[in-house]
């Protein structure tokens, strides 16, 4: 599984510029999807199975876009100014390396700060090695992602874009593992989540599911002097109760908990006082959809070194496969 993770996390693809990552995912799922289409905004939608009498149409959504930067200006000396795509913490940019969609690479520098000033994005710039506006190989509107190679520290896996490529891996592995199911499952690899769940909004409208689950990363409370949160790496996939923009349907939460219990899969409950996922977009589409979210605990989210636990990922695949293999009874 590490090879697949490495392949997917290292592909540049910030929100709105997902062509390369979409192509890579499509290649992976080609052989075990019954039907594949790409919608107007670029969501990759893959159907597996047909709805039986005791089955439902279920949408599983993992987003393939990542946070990144877009060029706003190239100055007279070839330094590149930018704006964030999605939530960018300036502190994670310092000394960072970027890879543009056109192949150019660069490093992020910063202006001199006064006193205890905290850096803001407008004090940063990218140096691609150009010396003038004319010889700069990037221009206004060019897009880059952060560049950092995947690395495995035993069971702890580190890369940029674990948010949310690790969930794309979970979806892909579930598609592979799902043998028998009464359900018609739409595995959606959504776009533009980081800028407001935009892909999931239109994908959910198009799929029109009976039930939906987002798969995404969530924060953890297990590093020094951090937020007080029960979620921790290695305690199993997390079943989201709420985040700042979404209240998981309690019937879906119960279904997920009961399935994890009966299958003997470790799990943890998650309450996140921040963030948002595709779950909200699915829940509020059309006339409403019972929706939840399966989360992978992740440290250092939205930095170039996001860390997850390989066992949590494997158990997430197990849980998702179990959830999709049997009739769904929501109570």
């Amino acid at each position: 599984m590490n090879d697949l993770i490495k392949k997917l996390v290292e592909i540049p693809g910030p929100s709105g510029y997902e062509d390369k990552i979409r192509a890579a995912v499509q290649e992976e799922i080609q052989d075990f999807a019954d039907e594949i289409r790409v919608d107007a905004l670029g969501n990759l939608i893959a159907r597996k199975g047909k709805k039986q009498a005791n089955g439902m149409r279920i949408m599983i959504s993992a987003h393939i876009d990542e946070i990144g930067l877009m060029v706003t200006h190239v100055d007279a000396n070839g330094f590149v100014r930018f704006i964030g795509i999605g939530g960018i913490n300036p502190l994670t940019c310092l000394g960072g390396r970027v890879l543009f969609m056109n192949g150019v690479r660069g490093v992020i520098g910063i202006e001199k700060l006064e006193g205890k000033e905290i850096p803001t994005l407008d004090k940063l710039f990218i140096d691609v090695g150009a010396t003038s506006q004319e010889n700069c190989p990037v221009g206004v509107g060019d897009v880059c992602g952060f560049e950092r190679p995947f690395m495995a520290l035993g069971d702890r896996l580190v890369a940029k874009s674990m948010d949310d490529r690790i969930a794309a891996v979970v979806s892909i592995e579930t598609m592979r593992a799902l043998k028998k199911s009464p359900h018609e499952v739409y595995f959606v690899f959504s776009v533009q989540e980081e800028v407001g769940l935009r892909g999931a909004i239109t994908a959910a409208y198009g799929v029109d599911p009976d039930l939906g689950l987002a798969v995404d990363v969530t924060r953890s409370g297990d590093t020094p002097k951090t937020i007080k949160m029960e979620t921790a790496l290695g305690k199993g996939p997390a079943i989201k109760v709420r985040d700042a923009s979404f209240i998981a349907d309690p019937r879906v939460v119960n279904w997920m908990v009961n399935t994890a219990k009966s299958e003997g899969i470790p799990y943890q409950m998650e309450v996140l006082e921040a963030g948002g996922t595709d779950g909200r977009a699915i829940q509020l589409t059309r006339a409403g959809v019972p929706a939840g979210c399966l989360s992978i605990a992740c440290r250092y989210i939205h930095s170039p070194s996001e860390m997850v636990d390989a066992n949590d990922v494997k158990n997430a695949v197990k849980l998702l496969t179990a959830l999709l293999s049997k009739e769904v009874l929501l109570a």
């Binding site: 709105g16 062509d19 706003t72 100055d75 704006i83 892909g199 239109t202």
Partner: protein
């Protein structure tokens, strides 16, 4: 109208359009109360006898069908509403407490004249005389809740809390420029009317004169749901922050757009990441017709495209704006030539639109 290199009808700004823009800019249509502008739009459309309706949000929705086979269904939106105020409390003696509707810099209000209500009754936003202020006091901006609109001593019941108000600025053409209030987005409105009148045959032009853009893009979403288009284009106006920096050696790197550099094509704002295929289409159309153009710097802000592109199963969308200095203040300033080039770009680009543009 002459034909340009691409054999398209070239399009110009006529005195008639300038007069129409003047009427539109001088009209008052604060978000939620767009009636005055809606009426001008409906009057302009009447002789065309097109399929026209006014929906639950007050949007004017017009369908102008082309005649070619394989037409592209293009929705074009321009918002009728402007930023302004609502009177909220009557304090006797002609003084009214008010609130802002839409994004207004509070520091731009004091000492301005306003028009209030359907009859455009005159009022002023006053300030304490400088003689009575201390230098210390003058360092702090006046807060809006300390300001009042003064309607004079005998206004009686002619205005009341719930009436809308806006700046009293009158439209003026000054050499190469136009100075007026509400150029955001009456420029879009006048351009959209012109495009409808000169629509090419290769598209179905689904025109939406939208409401409530300034308070959350509310009209555009329902209009897009109704039209169910293949492509969405928002016409708006965007800041030109191209004034010189304080430090003459410092480069202004955050100008957003510049006057005299032509229509501004959006790449990304806070509400929309423009579909790159549509950006490329606009750029190549401009290049082919030798029309000056610029990118609007990726930045905050939003246009009706923000609502349009998320409707139903998604609508690839892009925005095009006329650069404007001093946007969202009592008086904005644009260049006639930028306005003309924006119209030319839209007209020529629409004429080159084919269904293949959405191929991946």
């Amino acid at each position: 109208m002459a034909k340009d290199e691409n054999n398209n009808m070239s399009i110009e700004i006529t005195q008639e359009q300038i007069d129409l823009l003047e009427r539109l800019c001088n009209a008052m249509a604060v978000s939620g109360d767009e009636q005055e502008v809606r009426q001008i739009v409906l009057d302009e459309l009447k002789p065309l006898e097109l399929d026209t309706k006014v929906d639950a949000l007050g949007n004017v929705l017009v369908t102008r069908r082309g005649s070619d086979k394989n037409r592209v269904r293009v929705m074009i939106a321009a918002h009728m509403d402007e930023i302004g105020f609502m009177l909220v409390d009557d304090e006797e003696g002609g003084l009214f407490e008010f609130v802002a509707i839409g994004g207004i810099d509070e520091r731009q209000l004091v000492g301005k004249s306003v028009i209030v209500g359907k009859d455009h009754l005159p009022g002023v936003i006053g300030a304490k005389p400088i003689h009575m202020t201390t230098p210390e006091e003058r360092k702090t901006a006046l807060k809006l809740d300390q300001m009042r609109i003064d309607m004079g001593l005998d206004i009686g019941k002619k205005v009341k809390p719930s009436d809308r108000a806006t700046f009293a600025t009158q439209f003026a053409q000054i050499g190469p420029s136009i100075r007026a209030k509400a150029l955001d987005d009456r420029l879009g409105v006048v351009n959209l009317l012109t495009l409808i009148k000169h629509a090419p045959e290769n598209i179905d032009l689904l025109a939406a004169f939208t409401t409530q853009e300034e308070v959350g893009l509310r009209g555009a979403g329902v209009a897009a749901y109704h039209f169910d288009p293949q492509i969405g284009i928002a016409l708006d106006s965007t800041p030109a922050n191209d004034l010189p920096a304080w430090d003459v050696d410092e480069e202004n790197t955050r100008y957003n757009t510049k006057l005299d550099h032509g229509p501004a094509i959006y790449l990304m704002d806070a509400a929309t990441i423009a579909d790159r295929r549509l950006v490329d289409w606009l750029v190549s159309s401009a290049e082919a017709a030798h029309i000056p153009w610029q990118f609007r710097q990726p930045n905050l802000g939003g246009t009706d495209a923000g609502a349009i592109h998320k409707v139903r199963e998604g609508v690839p969308s892009v925005s095009v704006s006329v650069p404007q200095r001093y946007i969202h203040t009592a008086a904005g300033l644009i260049r006639l030539e930028d306005w003309a080039n924006t119209l030319r770009l839209l007209h020529t680009a629409l004429g080159r639109l084919t269904p293949e543009i959405l191929n991946r």
